[in-house]
């Protein structure tokens, strides 16, 4: 192999890379490309959402208004804070601050759990109100915002709630995967695997977390704030 001397210097260098920088670049390009595929994945749902929102704007507005926007706003705040802690975690890894790294990874995961908790409560509310699509769905006599005397078409509202559950559900699934990644990072960090020379997993794990946040930044106004007026 002829690389033994290098392997001693860089224990994390995999055998098929010539140098650590190549490995780092490959990992980070890989994550960016993967996030590109994720955009296409969510893109299909955004596309469906935009079509129906254009067709059934009033009904979507009415359905959107039935969701507790404060919960959504709280979740937005939680995720923005978690992005900050992720950045701090990456910085801690770069500058060999192990305690800070561990703390920030933990805080990030707590934010993630808080997000899921709030989301779960929101789902519970929707369940109580019979807004879950299916045989028990009910959305009768809900006025369309800004059009007195008009009521939302329950069938169109059902499309809205289908999209709402799918988009937030798949986003939440990504959040759960993120928590898995961060547990693994925490374990590695606990074992002292990260050094200023090698902390690529923290970086690309962080990229993933930011991506999940950004998706939420789009979901929040699209789903919660369609036609709200003070």
């Amino acid at each position: 192999m002829g690389l033994h001397h290098e392997e001693e210097q860089h224990p994390e260098l995999l055998h098929h890379f010539a140098e650590p920088e190549q490995q780092r670049n490959a990992a980070s390009l890989g994550m960016w490309v993967f996030l590109g595929t994720e955009i296409m994945f969510f893109g299909g749902m955004f596309c469906a959402y935009l079509l129906y929102r254009h067709w059934y704007f009033g009904d979507f507005g009415a359905a959107s208004k039935s969701i507790d926007a404060t919960l959504g706003a709280a979740n937005t705040a939680v995720l923005i804070c978690s992005s900050l802690t992720v950045v701090l975690a990456v910085w801690a890894a770069q500058t060999a601050r192990r305690a800070l790294l561990l703390a920030m990874l933990c805080v990030t995961m707590l934010f993630g759990l808080a997000f899921l908790g709030i989301k779960g409560y929101e789902y519970y509310q929707k369940f109580e109100e019979h807004h879950v699509p299916g045989p028990s769905f009910s959305f009768e006599n809900v006025p369309v915002p800004g059009h007195p005397g008009e009521y939302a078409n329950p069938r169109h509202a059902q499309i809205y709630f289908s999209l709402y559950f799918l988009m937030t559900g798949i986003h939440a699934l990504h959040m759960i995967v993120g928590l898995g990644i961060f547990s693994w990072l925490l374990l590695m960090a606990w074992g002292g695997r990260f050094t200023p020379a090698y902390h690529t997993p923290v970086e690309i794990g962080g990229l993933y977390w930011h991506f999940v946040d950004i998706i939420w930044i789009f979901l929040f106004p699209l789903l919660y704030l369609i036609d709200r007026h003070p």
């Binding site: 192999m1 002829g2 995999l14 055998h15 098929h16 890379f17 010539a18 190549q22 670049n25 490959a26 390009l29 890989g30 490309v33 993967f34 590109g36 595929t37 994720e38 296409m40 994945f41 969510f42 893109g43 299909g44 749902m45 596309c47 469906a48 079509l51 129906y52 067709w55 059934y56 699509p133 299916g134 045989p135 078409n153 069938r155 169109h156 059902q158 499309i159 289908s162 999209l163 559950f165 799918l166 798949i170």
Partner: protein, 552 residues
Amino acid sequence: MSATNVVPQQQFERETYLNKVYGMWSWLLTTDHKRIALLYLISITFFFFIGGFFALLIRLELLTPAGDLVQADTYNKLFTQHGMVMVFFFLIPSIPAVLGNFLVPMMIGAKDLAFPRINLLSWYLYIIGGVIMLHCMMTGGVDTGWTFYVPFSTNYTNTKFVEAGIAIFIAGFSSILTGLNFVVTIHRMRAPGMTWSRLPLFIWAHYATSIIQLLGTPVIAITIVLVACERALHLGIFDPRLGGDPLLFQHLFWFYSHPAVYIMILPSMGVVTEIIPCFSRKRIFGYSFVAFSSIAIAVFGFLVWAHHMFVAGMSVYAGLVFSFLSYAVAVPSAIKVFNWTATLYKGSIHYDAPMLYAFGFLGLFTIGGLTGLFLAALGINVHVTDTYFVVAHFHYIMVGGAVMGYLGGIHFWWPKISGKLYPEGWARLAALIVFLGFNLTFFPQFVLGYMGMPRRYWDYSHMPEFQVLNVLSTAGATVLGVGYLLPMIYLLWSMRYGKPASDNPWNAAGLEWKTSSPPPTDNFKEEPVVTWEAYNYEELDAPPQALEVPVG
């Protein structure tokens, strides 16, 4: 050109990727791209014969106009599962996951793909998807057509669509991970001196393919999720009873499934672009045009999806735009065909089996491409869409083109993969049988299609005038079946009894030929440094002493 049979004795002691470690787990847990390629080779061959078996039953049913061999529901399951197995479990992974996996790192002078463990994961995902698909087929099956149009698949079929959907979803992620690995590998792992303009065109084709896999596959994945949730959880996205739009499904579906055709054909074009220069002993004609036409196909390929929907209820003006763009994507394909042809000019042409497959590819792909012009013409499309004309057209591309290229590639690189030579006479015979059998099977279907026979018909007893052509087609399918069985037999035979191959039996250009056959685990003994352009056949053929200068 006859292969060099003189093999140095030490080959048998030489450590190769095949003999380095033994045992089942050394294969099932390998991260070596070459071993993973062989795992894929075995598994896709398995699915190819399952899909082929379904095809045979379909053709037998259509031998007579009445529905007499199988029940209507069985027939619907047969063509559905034939499509799903062939598209998602054979054609999509065929060349990229087998030849691409084996060759991409070697051609660019890397020791492995950028993410070997992800590579192994993608094979496991494929296998998990495949096992679920098999389970689905054995416990009832699915009858939605591989296109699983809503609202039939969401609300009306009583077969196991959700399970088939999960299988395809998982196999899709296998495809995404393969594409991701290739893109990163081609960007980051090239050997010193291997600039973009020196890359073999096989690599350019795989780069373009990977882009499609990365950008297209997630869209089919989410489409499957939407349909499965609508079916299983009673969500309503496409349901017309709620005001949903079934056409939205078709847009999402074809946004992937049209470019998916290019996932199948681009790698095949890449293979042919390697074979033709080698057996013409020439540089490829117009390197940069061939390279950029691959990228152009990948990009334009994303803009033509709705040409599958000209009669679906779309606006006339949308039809115009998509018809125009479909003609635009035909241009880069035409460029490739002309460049291959021009490469032959003033060459020194050898008729070895891989070259025969490449000739076959040229003929069948040309017919497939030209009949695409018929389908893209709006006025004709209305008449021939959803008939056997379409069936014939896409089989010419996806079987005539893609499988011909795949078999050509398997033969071309077989000495490198296995270290053995296959029996040349049998290989030439198989190429001929496949070509003739293929044309006999599918050419009559063009005529059937223009006569108006709709696809997916189990029983055509109301229109007995279609029988003669169907008999021809079934006869051809039998010949084709023999043609596909032959290579499997003699290639397997050669693994044990074939003559050992030299490192470069074709005297071909390319880094993969500069290492031993079969290659060592790390591909090269020393990291290669590239100082030559691709397809430097002039240098290879010039001085006799240039023949044996292995880098590895």
